[in-house]
């Protein structure tokens, strides 16, 4: 029974999320004016969608228990690269406004190289430097975007 349940977990978790999102959206759309069918307020359509999500979520619970199990899709998705890539994006967000595009890209590319199994620090540094220069050239000089290039 437990293995059976575990194989169906993706569908059940998905259904639960759908119901949860539906309930939250329903609560939120009730705070807006509903209006009537002939003159719908801003809350009318979203609450229909929210109810739809709840109903479909319940339907998914039902079918998930009956249908052949699906299992999670793992193909190459693991926690480490996800965390590293998110960190590299956040690094860019933190650096871009104060230090400019070159340091921001340098940091984010350097960080992101750690998402793969390949750990060659000098090569990562080189790749980060080249990418930063090329991106700055492409976006600031070719496309003419106004961005801070390099400032400390």
């Amino acid at each position: 029974m437990t293995t059976k349940l575990r194989e169906r977990l993706p569908d059940l978790v998905g259904a639960l999320c759908a119901i949860l999102v539906g309930l939250l959206a329903l609560r939120e759309s009730y705070t807006y004016d509903m209006g009537s069918l002939t003159n719908m307020g801003p809350g009318y359509f979203p609450s229909l969608l929210a109810i739809g999500m709840i109903v479909l979520g319940l339907l998914l619970v039902f079918t998930a228990l009956r249908m052949p199990p699906a299992g999670f899709v793992r193909d190459g998705l693991s926690l480490w690269p996800v965390m590293i890539i998110c960190a590299s994006l956040i690094a860019f967000a933190l650096l871009i406004e104060r230090f400019g595009i070159i340091p921001a890209i340098f940091a984010s590319v350097f960080l992101s190289t750690f998402a793969s199994d390949n750990r060659n620090i000098p090569r990562s540094l080189l790749l980060a430097a080249i990418t930063a220069l090329c991106c700055a050239g492409l976006f600031v000089y070719l496309l003419g975007l106004s961005m801070k290039v390099f400032a400390i």
């Binding site: 801003p42 190459g76 998705l77 998110c86 860019f92 190289t113 390949n118 496309l143 961005m147």
Partner: protein
């Protein structure tokens, strides 16, 4: 509509053959072929990655480039599926069924050649239909009221979710969720901020670029980061002489190409359906009409020619509803439409009369782009085979940089980067739980339009639902939607009861 179709095409070629037109068209098909060849990176991810750049160029060239990526990836996708049995795109899955056996029989060159020719035939005929049908259809659409739009959009959403690869209920959930995300922002009629949680950043709505990149770009980059799919498989080298088909092989692939084009053109033009279904349908049809059905799966040339023609015809005709009605039939069209809207171009029946250079330039660029693709894919196929050996661990950090600068460049907003992280996590979650991201994106773009037309039809008719049945076009699409829903419910009910 002024001028004959020839005048219009002349205008189009003037745009497509201009220096910028050739540059962006060439760039699009080149990048498209590249990502098509690389397994693991789809055309959606690439389109999303290049979307920010299109904010800084003329919308006509933006659309030309994005479309080039889309059909370029279809050409490239078949290369990987024939040589490595690793389809680069969903639509080239069927091509691998007979293309890979052909390659194993030593006919890789022939398979690649027929693929390119079938793609070219499908594309060109599809583009011709686009040129001929869009203007009259836009004329019909001038008389459309909100009821017709509402029903057409509902049909597109229902068809796209029921016919997608996943479980239908789950795709319907993602469509609804996408529509809810699309609603975030100020309500056009009353000015109420909805689902904005008092954050002014959300008043303009969520960023389409951030959503598309989060759903498709980030998850695909992250999965390729760990070495990506095994690319050590030795792809055989292909000489030009081995490519040329014999007279017999020409004859065997001629009608499959035409039948494939027909099926592809039909499903491409119908909103909500598209290339994936068309390839499967045309493959099935070929196995049915063939006198030697036992050859299929073992390297039948018809099994490569028909689906390739179908897929490419579908890509071209998908532009018919997008350009004439302003209704995107799939997620890629939704992205292209989103780019137009950002540039202040309002999609709909007036688009062709107001911006003839855009529509006809696009049509002409399809012809130019497909000729470029035949050149890229027949004499230069060796180059792409070598591309399969590029180390992924050098490629993905560059893509990260490109993506993050791109999204920041759109409106210099750090908030957009944080949204990208959130949507990226959402995209990964959806993938883990086997939900379909492309129906979410379609819902995101269509949701606000659907609401607007629903509201308007209810105002016009004083809340009378029978209006949807009294108007013939609306009623037809209502009927089609119902047939699909009933068919799928009965089908899954039967499956449930049998267990």
């Amino acid at each position: 509509m002024s001028g004959s179709i020839l005048d219009n095409l002349a205008l189009g070629f003037a745009v497509a053959m201009s220096y910028e037109g050739l540059l962006y068209c060439g760039l699009g098909v080149l990048l498209g072929t590249m990502v098509g060849v690389l397994p693991g990176l789809g055309s959606m991810a690439t389109l999303a990655m290049l979307m920010p750049i299109t904010y800084h160029i003329d919308p006509t060239f933006a659309v030309i480039m994005l479309s080039g990526i889309y059909y370029g990836a279809a050409y490239g996708g078949s290369t990987a599926s024939i040589l490595l049995n690793m389809p680069g795109t969903v639509t080239s899955v069927v091509t691998a069924l007979d293309g890979y056996p052909m390659a194993k029989n030593g006919q890789a060159g022939l398979a690649l050649f027929i693929t390119a020719i079938a793609s070219f035939v499908g594309s060109t005929l599809g583009a011709l239909m686009l040129a001929v049908l869009t203007v009259p259809l836009a004329g019909v659409a001038m008389q459309f009221g909100p009821q017709e739009y509402f029903m057409l959009m509902s049909f597109a959403l229902v068809a796209a979710s029921l016919l997608s690869t996943g479980r239908p209920v789950k795709s319907l959930i993602t469509v609804m969720f996408g529509m809810l995300l699309g609603i975030v922002g100020l309500d056009l009629n009353t000015g109420t901020a909805r689902f904005a949680f008092d954050m002014p950043e959300f008043f303009d709505g969520l960023s389409l670029v951030a959503l598309a990149l989060g759903l498709f770009g980030l998850p695909e980059i992250i999965t390729t980061a760990r070495g990506g799919p095994d690319s050590k498989l030795g792809a055989q080298s292909v000489s030009l002489r081995s490519m040329l088909p014999s007279r017999e092989e020409w004859k065997r692939s001629f009608f499959p190409m035409l039948r494939g084009t027909g099926i592809g053109a039909f499903f491409g033009a119908l909103p909500g359906t598209g290339g994936t279904i068309a390839t499967f349908m045309s493959y099935t049809l070929e196995t049915r009409v063939s006198k030697h059905p036992e050859r299929f799966g073992k390297g039948a040339i018809e099994g490569v020619a028909a689906p390739e023609a179908a897929n490419n015809a579908a890509i071209q005709t998908a532009f018919i509803p997008t350009m004439s009605l302003g209704i995107p039939g799939d997620a890629v069209m939704a992205m292209i439409l989103g780019v137009l809207i950002v540039h202040g171009v309002i999609p709909g029946p007036l688009l062709i009369t107001e911006r003839p250079e855009m529509f006809w330039g696009l049509v002409a660029s399809f012809v130019v782009g497909n000729i470029l693709l035949v050149i890229l894919n027949i004499p230069m196929v060796g180059l792409w085979v070598r591309l399969l050996r590029v180390p992924y661990h050098l490629l993905f950090p560059i893509m990260i940089a490109f993506l993050v600068v791109g999204i920041y460049s759109v409106r210099s907003s750090v908030m957009d980067i944080y949204m990208l992280v959130i949507f990226g996590l959402l995209g990964i979650g959806l993938r883990l739980l086997r939900f379909d991201g492309s129906t979410l994106l379609l819902g995101f773009v269509l949701g606000p339009m659907l609401e607007e037309h629903f509201r308007r039809s209810m105002v016009v008719t004083m809340g009378d639902f029978s209006t949807f049945l009294e108007r013939p076009i609306a009623a037809t699409f209502f009927g089609l939607t119902m047939i699909l829903l009933v068919f799928f419910s009965v089908n899954s009910l039967r499956k449930l009861l049998r267990r």
